[in-house]
């Protein structure tokens, strides 16, 4: 695959109080790549997601997306550049229906403002109809079309995770960050998630995922980054990572054997 760099982290670090949560982490995500971040709990994976999406501002280092520095931009601007995400602890809009959740994802790519909405201008009504049909298409893509009018809070966890993916895709990202998408899923659901991740990549969207399910990670990831105590421990294709002595000692040695 001829690839160019989509996302590049350079010596990114942040500390909370005295705790250095992320220390000088550097890695890259190429266009069309599926990359996984693994590491024990507290290794700084979610913190790294929050840094990339602008929820946190790094103390030092640089984060570049499509060759432009994005660190310190507010989250909604970073979303606009083309990075979207899901959450480890599901963050759906519970009082809204499934399709409405996805429709919020279209917010960025549509423009009806307060006045156009309040006056129901014809073009804003057309836009609204387009938002709905595009959102239904994304629901179809993740397999939730039958639940469109249910309240998001009433979905089982597996469906909620799929809905978060549909909502994130509706923002038309170039890079999708998935934070433990398989947590709480059964085996069939995990299998479908795997197919979904490949389908997302087939649409030209790069994926960066944090995942504890090692068999899923090893199967889908082109490359894996291992974090431990906020530091980058190893980086490489899955088969190298599985044999990496430091990784086995720090992480796989414990969890991998339990699988």
């Amino acid at each position: 695959m001829t690839s160019s760099t989509l996302l590049a982290l350079e010596a990114v670090g942040i500390s909370f109080g005295g705790l250095q949560a992320v220390k000088k982490v550097s890695f890259q995500v190429q266009e069309g790549q599926i990359k996984a971040l693994i590491g024990p709990n507290g290794a700084g994976k979610t913190t790294l997601f929050n840094l990339i999406t602008g929820m946190l501002r790094p103390d030092h280092g640089e984060i570049r997306f499509q060759e432009q520095a994005i660190q310190g931009l507010p989250p909604f601007r970073i979303a606009d550049r083309g990075i979207s995400r899901t959450f480890q602890i599901v963050q759906l809009f519970g009082h809204m229906t499934v399709v409405e959740n996805v429709m919020v994802g279209r917010h960025l790519r549509t423009r009806a403002g307060l006045l156009a909405a309040a006056l129901r201008l014809p073009w804003s009504r057309r836009e609204e109809a387009a938002i709905r049909s595009q959102s239904l298409a994304w629901l179809d893509f993740v397999g939730l079309q039958d639940r469109a009018d249910d309240y998001a809070a009433n979905l089982p966890l597996g469906h909620q995770r799929l809905l978060e993916i549909a909502r994130a895709l509706a923002t038309e990202p170039k890079l999708l960050l998935l934070d433990e998408p398989a947590a709480g899923l059964d085996m069939t659901e995990t299998e479908r998630l795997k197919e979904l991740i490949f389908a997302i990549r087939a649409r030209g969207i790069s994926v960066l995922l944090v995942e504890h399910d090692m068999s899923l990670t090893m199967e889908v990831a082109d490359e894996i980054v291992v974090l431990d105590h906020g530091e980058l421990l190893a980086e490489g294709p899955p088969r190298d990572i599985q044999r990496h002595p430091a990784v086995i000692a720090a992480y796989l040695g414990r969890d991998w054997e339990k699988e």
């Binding site: 919020v104 917010h107 960025l108 909405a117």
Partner: protein, 318 residues
């Protein structure tokens, strides 16, 4: 489908209002209906802010007052055209809402409540103390009736028409806002600001926007108040009225447009009905609020719908 049902509901509602406006005898009832209309306008705005965007304000009486005093002073003291005065009130309220909203809306929950509360109190004190301009605690008199395109809204019936035409306009705008890209983003902010931000919603800007909208509604209602009662006093725009507005939103039902109509109507009429109890009025008022909140926590409209649904299911069960 749901949309046509909405317009049907609005039509039926308006028919009822028009009927009661024309059938009820005497000016007392018309004046009361006008007051309900004004409260509905403010509560619709406050519900956009509280029920939809999830941001509380304990200072909305201040915007009501800003509209009322701007209209009153400009038309009575400076003989400005009422429409221009109303627009000046809207402009002033927008400015104040932006200046207050930018820092205050960075706060959440109790802290936002405290900040808006402080703002409301400051404005109420200003109305009292600037007596060279506002007439001070004894009030401001001699406000002329509203004029528009040669029409003078002087009789109670004309005022009724003016107020309820504007209630209709505000209701139309609010129903549209709720059911739009902006309304959806507001509800998203309410449920999870983090997720809304990650989806590209500029939460801070939208909160400010809806804060300004709700201030504009209140200011409009204030201007109309000045021209319908022709006399305004600072006591109408104090802390207690802000609380009452919040109560109207909650009793009617958060994030419910129809709830706002009912909440405003019930809490405007109730004190009048309870006046027969004299000193006990406030106690009974409080008791009714407590009972409503304990048994219908989602507000009158949804609560009553739930009860009805429950009864229907029971019947079917038999």
């Amino acid at each position: 489908m749901a949309r046509y049902q909405r317009w049907l509901q609005a039509g039926v509602f308006y028919l009822l209002v028009a009927l009661s406006g024309s059938l009820l005898p005497g000016t007392y009832y018309v004046t009361l209906l006008n007051l309900i209309g004004l409260h509905i306008i403010i509560v619709l705005g406050l519900n956009l802010l509280m029920g939809y965007a999830g941001q509380i304000s304990l200072g909305h009486a201040a915007f009501f007052g800003l509209g009322a005093y701007t209209s009153g002073i400009l038309t009575a003291t400076y003989k400005v055209d009422p429409l221009l005065a109303l627009l000046a009130g809207l402009l002033l309220s927008t400015l104040v809402a932006v200046i207050v909203g930018i820092p205050a809306l960075k706060l959440k929950g109790y802290y936002l409540a405290m900040a808006t509360l402080g703002f409301g109190i400051i404005v109420a004190i200003a109305f009292q103390q600037m007596d060279w301009l506002t007439g001070g605690p004894s009030g401001f008199m001699g406000i002329p009736p509203f004029r528009f395109l040669g029409w003078r809204f002087q009789t109670p019936a004309a005022k009724f028409f003016l107020v309820w035409a504007l209630v209709g306009l505000i209701l139309f705008l609010s129903l549209n806002i709720v059911d739009s890209r902006i309304g959806r983003a507001l509800r998203a902010i309410h449920d999870s600001e983090t997720a809304a931000l990650a989806m590209g919603v500029d939460a801070q800007r939208l909160k400010l926007l809806i804060f300004v909208v709700s201030a504009l509604y209140a200011s409009l209602a204030g201007s109309l108040l000045a021209h319908t009662v022709n006399f305004i006093a600072p006591s109408s725009f104090g802390f207690m009225f802000s609380i009452k507005l919040v109560t109207m939103v909650v009793v009617g039902g958060m994030a419910s447009i129809w709830g706002s109509l009912l909440g405003a109507a019930v809490l405007t009429v109730l004190p009048e009905l309870l006046a027969v109890f004299h000193d006990l009025e406030v106690v009974i008022f409080g008791l009714i609020l407590m009972v409503v909140m304990i048994f219908l926590p989602r507000g009158l409209v949804r609560g009553l719908l739930d009860l009805w649904e429950l009864r229907r299911r029971k019947k079917q069960g038999r």
